[in-house]
Amino acid sequence: MEDRDMTTDEMRLQHRKRMVGRAALAFFGIVLLLTFFSKSINNMLLPEMECVTPWSGYLNYSIRATGEVRTPFTHKVFAQGNWHVIDVLVEEGDVVAEGDALAIVDMEDISLELKKKAFEIQRLQNDLAQHQATFTGVDLESYEKQVEKAREEAEDAKENLDIILALFDEDVQKAINEAKAERDKAVKESEAAYKEWQDQKAEAERLEAQYNRLVEEKKMAIKVKNRELQVYRENYEGIVPDNEFDLQVSQLRQELTRLEHDLEDYTGSFKLPDIDQYQETFHQSLQKAIAAEENLKKISESYATTSEMRIRLNEAQKRYDDAIKQIDENIQALEKKQEEAKAEQLVYTQTVYQKKTEIQLAMLELELMKKYLPQDGRLVAPMDAMIKTVNIEKGQVCSPQQMLFELIDSNASLAIQWMLNPAKAELLEIGDQVSFRVKGEKTEEIKSKVEKKEFTPDNGLYHYASEIPAGSGDIREGMAVEISASRSTGEYPLIVPNSSVSKQGGMDYVFVLKERSGALGQEYYVEAVKVNVIERDDFNAAVSGALSLQDKIVSMSTKALENGAQVILR
């Protein structure tokens, strides 16, 4: 039984090993196969690309547009009032000579318009005269007089102030000088008293010290004598004979008594000098000096505020200040009036000029009306011309300034006209060379220069015109024209194709081809290099950045590129 189990386990084990072995073989076989084809597969899936090298040179802008042959300008005939058209004598496309009748209008309407214009002129003239008569301007004389009067008052006040100021100075100086002299005298006396007091005080102190020293000396002598008496008694009593002992003791006592009397006499007779009187004298003189100083101060202050001379001086000063202030006020008032007068004069001048201009304009219009309005009701051609447009019909009443006829001058040359948007218009200026292909029965190719460039606000386009040079063949108005022009920029050091520049995250990049060593040998990859596009035309762009003329940059790729991506060359 056990043997059978073992055999079964062994078989299972062998089966598993076979399965694992096959799986391993399959795995390694697949990996080997994929490795063999890896380069081919990789190359098939890599982006193919073409390269160019940057170059230095110019950018060329080409401008293309379509236009038309037209006359440079037309002559327009306008109505001058509410005319009643009796008859229209021409049609569009008719050729007329100067003086030929174009239309007939009602004479009564024309004369009415003339009268209306004459009346308008008269009204404007009356208006002007009335305006001139009523203008008076601003009276400045009274203000000038007031200024002059204020100046005189100020001069008078100044003279008065000077006199009072001189008097005030003299009086004040005299009083202050007297007070100063008194103060100085008192100060000197005080200083002398103080010195005397100090001297006496020093002398008293010296005498007191001397007294103390002598008293000490005498007390010391008494003490010594006492000690001598005591020693003698202790040492010699009973040793020397009694009489001799008594005699000696008696002598010593007498000397001691004399010394004590001497001390008493000295202390009783000694007396310190009296220094209080000197101190009292000093205090009195000091009080006098202080009083003199206060007196000086009082005099100075009183002259500064309340003295009669000070009051008079203040009044004179105030009068002078008021006068000066009055001058300033009057001058300000005068200047204000002068500005008002100036403004009024300006308004008056402008109004008069405006009215005169209106009168002149109305007179000119009247003259034109008289000149162009046919007295007999016939509206005539001002030149040899072709009728381009007729805007009236028989029996119609036209409004003032309505265009009636548009005439093309027979002697005027034709021009090619076209429009360009602002972006392209920046590239084409007056004087630039332009090529034209005029399409008629036979296509004519001519060259000319831009003669006119105007912005037309109505459509936001620029209107260009070029003259047709003489001898350009049979070119007539209305023919379609193809316009082409080109312009070169200045030289740029780095130019690349527009297709090379790609935008990522708002930045411009070009991809530079690089070579590196990879797992399968040398391989190409691209490196994104940031550039700044300076200018670009339809095909190329001038750039700046970390590029050199030797770099190979990608001009075309079959797939989107990213920095570091492996690529193959086509």
Binding site: F27, L34, T35, A519
Partner: protein, 298 residues
């Protein structure tokens, strides 16, 4: 008689077994989770992987001022074979490095089997002076971390002029001490009487080695081969240090770098990288268990 002893707490029969099973299941799940995780994620599209694990490549996504946290995903938004397509068809580097790994690993396994069997036979069955100290030295070298012997190896290879060639990786691998130790332990258990009997019959050492010892060591040799294969299939430091030319680098280095630059194919590459080692293990699983049991390494 009064019963004073405490009654023993009765544990239900089979409870201990249940707890043991729970612990084993948890441990197994913990160990298997990275593999399951890798398999699941290998079926995500490259974009989904790049988005989910942007933090690993340093492309952190900021949301309202805060860094988006790394999310662990097991279920793909849309199952895709794009990673396998990318790894096998769009990355020739991967395939080249795969064969680099094979070129380095197979010679090491073969070479070390030869060297280890001979060395182990000498230490197990031959008696020569200083046999024990030399074997002790072998064990000391085996115990040393690889980083310790790195600098001497580098200097030796430089002196030999092998730096930059595949031999710089293969030769140190062949002469690794672990194989000798493993097989010596196994051969030491084979009774000497077999050899002595063969000697009596006139067999020399080579005959004894090839006819008696090696047939008995097949299990140990298979387990050694598996261990060496797995060890060298995963090596990173040696190729990085000894091989300057990136075209010679094995797949293990490709995977170690993939986190930063090509996260989108990381999981599929991991699975493909795992397969050869798995095949080797599955093929020789019984030998491995047997070899480890008999060599006393258990």
């Amino acid at each position: 008689m009064i019963a004073t002893g405490r009654r023993k707490a009765r544990i239900p029969k089979g409870a201990g077994k249940f707890v043991a099973y729970i612990l084993l299941v948890v441990a197994s799940a913990t160990m298997l989770f990275p593999v399951v995780y890798m398999v699941c994620n290998s079926f995500m599209s490259s974009n989904e992987v790049a988005e989910a694990y942007a933090l690993l490549s340093g492309d952190a996504v900021f949301e309202a001022g805060a860094v988006k946290k790394l999310s662990i995903r097991l279920i793909p938004e849309r199952v895709s074979l794009m990673q396998y397509y990318q790894a096998l068809l769009r990355k020739p580097t991967f395939l080249v490095m795969f064969w680099n790994s094979v070129i380095v690993t197979v010679p090491i396994v073969a070479g070390q089997l030869v060297v280890a069997t001979l060395g182990a036979y000498a230490f197990a069955k031959l008696k020569f002076p200083l046999r024990a100290p030399i074997f002790f030295l072998y064990i000391i070298v085996m115990m040393m971390p690889f980083q310790v012997t790195l600098v001497p190896q580098y200097i030796t290879l430089k002196k030999l002029g092998l730096l930059g060639s595949r031999l710089a990786v293969i030769l140190p691998g062949i002469f690794s001490t672990f194989g000798i130790f493993l097989l010596r332990q196994f051969m030491a258990r084979i009774p000497d009487e077999y050899g002595e009997a063969a000697k009596i019959d006139g067999a020399g050492h080579f005959r004894i080695f090839t006819s008696i010892i090696l047939p008995q060591c097949r299990g140990a040799m298979a387990s050694l081969a598996i261990l060496i294969f797995v060890d060298n299939w995963n090596m990173v430091e040696q190729p990085l240090l000894f091989l300057d030319d990136e075209r010679m680098h094995p797949l293990s280095i490709f995977l170690s770098r993939i986190n930063t630059s090509e996260l989108g194919v990381a999981f599929a590459c991991g699975i493909l990288y795992l397969l050869p080692a798995l095949f080797v293990f599955l093929y020789g699983e019984n030998y491995l268990i047997e070899g480890i049991q008999r060599s006393g390494l258990k």
